[in-house]
Amino acid sequence: MNTVNNRKKVVFTKSSTKVESLEKRLGIELNVSSNMTISEFFKMKGYPSLSKILGSAK
């Protein structure tokens, strides 16, 4: 889940790396294991370059 503190800083919590969190937040159905990471999901869908960026986030 993502939160905005005083509109100054976006904080991405650890749960936001999982597909499950995206599905819940956006109300969508991606038809993959909810435990899959977002990085793995986008790699599987044909976006290896985006997956790399996601995988390298601090």
């Binding site: 991405f12 995206l22 977002i38 370059s49």
Partner: protein
């Protein structure tokens, strides 16, 4: 998660993070089962993602350029600004003889467009010519938002169009880390 930790300008970093999160959200939505047989919807999502990705690339290049200008005292070249132009007479069809004034002004970084930012980055060796070509490909994809200037029926945007944009964003992001 912080995708742009090395950007010290907090407003820019926030805007980059928000735009990037928006890209992830839009891309995930475009993969939702309800859009499986709706190529126009998916293409429209992809077009929006291209616009956001190009904005991120442009912002990272501009930030890098600003840093180099500030830290290494790189002088940007001056350019002529023309004003008070008056027509003197016609020359040929569509050609006029004019008179006016011009003065030299230093380039203002914030007023540069995407193409000029990448041109100056190349000139100062912040990017190489291969990356410049790829940045131009992204810029041209982004510019298709101006549908009035398209000479053809709008295309459907593909996964590979998006991955090109993400690849370039990844390369430019490496430049600023």
């Amino acid at each position: 998660m912080n995708y742009f930790p090395t950007v010290k300008d907090s407003a820019l970093r926030h805007n980059l993070e928000v735009a990037f999160q928006h890209i992830i959200d839009l891309l995930a939505i475009s993969e939702d089962q309800i859009y499986k047989n709706k190529p126009l919807f998916v293409s429209s999502f992809r077009k929006t993602i291209i616009i956001h990705t190009a904005s991120i690339i442009e912002a990272m290049l501009l930030w890098k350029l600003k840093k180099i200008v500030e830290e290494k005292n790189v002088e940007l070249s001056e350019e002529w600004i023309y004003f008070d132009i008056k027509k003197l007479c016609d020359k040929d069809k569509g050609v006029e003889v004019i008179a006016g004034f011009r003065r030299k002004e230093k380039k203002v970084l914030e007023k540069l467009d995407f193409m000029r930012i990448s041109d100056i980055c190349l000139k100062h060796n912040l990017i190489d010519s291969d990356l410049k070509i790829e940045i131009d490909q992204v810029r041209k994809l982004r510019n298709r938002l101006h549908i009035g200037s398209l000479n053809e029926i709008e295309k459907l945007y593909t996964r590979s169009d998006l991955d090109l944009c993400f690849k370039v964003a990844g390369k430019v992001r490496k430049l600023i880390t």
